[in-house]
């Protein structure tokens, strides 16, 4: 008797599953056949994040803000047929996510991050009707635009600011993974420090991850306790640990002068700490990378029908693609730093110096 009841329940569950599965299939087919017509009339854009997620307060977030801005300006709605994003939880998800967006007939799909290079290359060959954009990578396909930045130029300025701000002559650099993008950040930063004062020691550490804030915190703790007083991070979400550590230290001892430098977007809001009713900010400045600008730029072009497929767009200081965020008001010699930063900005823009983008180039780099 009981057996039969359970059997009945079981078969009910199975039946429900089959029915649900069937209805899912039906809808999918309808969507598949009805897509051709409205493709021209409506422009839609989406992006795939890397494992940092859309709220990494850095590079993915910046791209998403760009897409949101573009969507708003063009009266689009979030969702299918408008603008949207998909998050990747592991590197196995890149391909599925890119494919999914392309299958849902988004006209333009951005892959945010160097790690998606391979997947975009493959999928762009299969989904020839979709336009792709890859940020920080180069893919040579007629329907892919590659977006690169001269990160070294922004981080050079960050290096100048750090070298001017340090009192202990010890500076730290926290990198995510040892990939070309981060190497550009590192080389530019080291060159900037060196340009101001070659005697400053820079402690360079790689955490090996972009999404491990706790690792960023311990690395920062080690650096600060060894006398480093300015730390620059190019580590995405891992860098949030740096800010936490700097804020914690500031909370314990508000008179201690320690600084953190943000990356990708102006991260100054992350550094606010309140001690005894007095507000402090531990973020000296940020090396900004105009992912947002670039995303909006490419989306506009694509919408207007001038998609720069097959090209590599490089955004540097001169193109306003990278820049240094406004300096912290609290820093003692602000005008001094500002002067130096402006001087170097001019030199880079005029082409008087070329900022090294690799460690190899850094070796032969001499600042005049």
């Amino acid at each position: 008797m009981k057996k039969r009841k359970f059997g009945l329940a079981l078969s009910l569950v199975l039946a429900a599953g089959t029915i649900l599965g069937a209805c899912g299939k039906g809808e999918e087919k309808e969507g598949g056949t009805a897509d051709g017509g409205d493709k021209e009339s409506k422009f839609s854009v989406a992006m795939v994040t890397d494992v940092g997620g859309v709220d990494d307060k850095s590079f993915n977030q910046s791209a998403w803000e760009g897409i949101q801005e573009f969507g708003k300006n063009n009266g689009m709605e979030k969702g299918k047929g408008g603008f949207d994003y998909l998050q990747s939880k592991s590197d196995a998800d890149y391909s599925t996510n890119l494919n999914k967006l392309s299958r849902e007939d988004f006209n333009l799909v951005f892959g945010v991050g160097f790690l998606m290079e391979e997947d975009i290359n493959k999928i762009a060959g299969q989904q020839k009707d979709t336009q792709f954009g890859i940020i920080d990578g180069v893919v040579d396909q007629p329907n892919v635009v590659s977006i690169m930045f001269k990160e070294q130029e922004a981080s050079f300025l960050a290096g100048v600011a750090a070298a001017k701000a340090t009192k202990t002559n010890k500076i730290g650099f926290i990198g995510g993974m040892e990939i070309p993008v981060i190497e550009r950040f590192e080389s530019g930063f080291l060159a900037g420090v060196q340009a101001v004062n070659p005697d400053i020691k820079v402690n360079v550490k790689y955490t090996g991850a972009f999404d491990k804030a706790e690792l960023g915190k311990t690395t920062a703790a080690q650096m600060y306790s060894s006398g480093v007083d300015v730390i620059f991070h190019a580590a995405g979400g891992t860098g949030n640990g740096l800010f936490t550590e700097a804020k914690d230290l500031k909370k314990k001892d508000p008179s201690r002068e320690i600084w953190a430098i943000g990356v990708d977007s102006d991260q100054s809001t992350e550094g606010v700490v309140e001690v005894d009713g007095k507000k402090h900010n531990v973020i000296l400045t940020s090396a900004m990378k105009g992912v947002k600008t670039a995303v909006v730029d490419v989306s506009e072009k694509s919408k207007a029908g001038n998609f720069p497929g097959g090209e590599t767009l490089t955004y540097g200081l001169a193109e306003d693609g990278v820049s240094l965020a406004p300096l912290n008001e609290e820093v003692g010699n602000k005008s001094d730093i500002e002067k130096a930063v402006n001087e170097w900005t001019e030199k880079i823009k005029n082409g008087d110096i070329t900022v090294p983008g690799t460690k190899e180039e850094l070796k032969s780099f001499k600042a005049e």
Partner: protein, 349 residues
């Protein structure tokens, strides 16, 4: 009610309860649960492409589940599947990159290298357990980190010139097939699923049809009794870990030779090995149960990617549902008691 039937109903109930609580959470947080489940199913089976991706995801889950399940049968808790998977992945890719052989030799060699590396990695905790009574849970957890960082180091220094990944494997070592990709509209489905199903059979065969399997299970039930009966407990512990590790290594080889075709420098664990524990638990460590559980987890994982786009539900919620299922499977004792109470009451009536 027969025992066998109870073994079946408990995981099913766990899944149902997990989904139920997941639904409640979705409703409470203001999401459309119905749309979410439709999106989930559509994202896993709605299109031939998604079916291909689901099967691809299921492949390593089956093998990871077998690895954990096999060790379970001998009373060992192999948490090191993740680490064994990583070394297996690396070893198979290494063979795939380093040699230039005809496919008929190269592919099996690469697959076997993955299995051997996983087996070797699991031999360490097996040996330490058998020889020095060191608890395998601790050793395997530690070895996970060793595997992660060692493989990153090797990829950076030996297998590439400071790059973030190995070169691509030669086509002769690849499990990918244009035929399967064409069949599933360019999904990354590869031949690994066949290997995984063969392994399911192998596990069933070893456990049910061989003396070795009998001994392994006996050791799992009661070490002292088995020793008294003249079985070599130490040998069986090591063997069980080695076979379990070989399955785990194969799971890595599937990812390395099939899905990816290379091995990246990893910032963290893949998670497949840990999900394998859940798969084995849900599948009751039985070969067929593991296949079904892997199918469930694989479709949840792949289908979840569809939920944000179609239903606006964050895919973290799917992680919560998976966690809930694991919780209810873990609490299967509770469900068992509940069922027993229920049937007793009715029996009295």
């Amino acid at each position: 009610m027969s025992n066998r039937f109870k073994n079946l109903i408990v995981p099913v109930l766990a899944v149902v309860l997990g989904m139920l609580v997941g639904t409640i959470i979705m409703l409470v947080t203001g999401y459309d649960a119905g749309a979410a489940f439709v999106a989930l199913i559509e994202g896993a089976f709605g299109d031939i492409y998604y079916i291909g991706e689901t099967i691809r995801q299921v492949t390593p889950y089956i093998l990871a589940g077998l690895a954990v399940g096999f060790a379970f049968k001998t009373g060992l808790f192999n948490i090191g599947v993740e680490g064994q998977l990583i070394v297996g992945w690396l070893a198979s890719v290494w063979v795939g990159v380093a040699f230039d052989l005809p496919k008929i030799i190269h592919l099996p060699l690469a697959v076997l290298a993955g299995a051997a590396a996983g087996a070797l990695w699991a031999f360490i905790p097996g040996f330490l357990k058998a020889r020095f009574r060191v608890h395998e849970v601790i050793v395997t957890i530690m070895l996970n980190y060793v595997a992660l960082h060692l493989s990153n180091y090797l990829i950076r220094t030996v297998l590439s010139d400071k790059s973030d990944r190995t070169p691509n494997i030669h086509d002769t070592a690849s499990l990918r097939s244009p035929f399967l990709e064409g069949l599933t509209d360019y999904s990354r489905l590869h031949w690994g699923i066949v290997i995984a199903l063969i392994c399911v059979f192998i596990m069933w065969f070893i456990l049910q049809k061989t003396t070795l399997g009998y001994e392994l299970k006996a050791v799992g039930f009661n070490q002292h009794a088995s020793e008294y009966a003249g079985m070599n407990v130490r040998k069986n512990i090591i063997l069980s870990m080695v076979i379990s590790g070989a399955f785990a290594g194969l799971a890595g080889a599937m990812e390395g030779l099939g899905t990816f075709g290379y091995s990246p420098v990893r910032g963290g664990f893949t998670g497949v090995g840990f999900d394998g524990i859940a798969v084995a638990l849900l599948g009751g460590s039985a070969p067929i149960g593991i296949v079904l559980a892997a199918l469930l987890f694989g479709s949840l994982k792949v289908g979840a990617l569809n939920m944000p786009l179609e239903a606006g539900v964050p895919n973290e919620l799917v992680d919560i549902i998976i966690a809930l299922i694991v919780f209810f499977v873990g609490a299967s004792y509770m469900i068992r008691i509940f069922i027993e109470r229920l049937s007793k009451k009715k029996g009295v009536k």
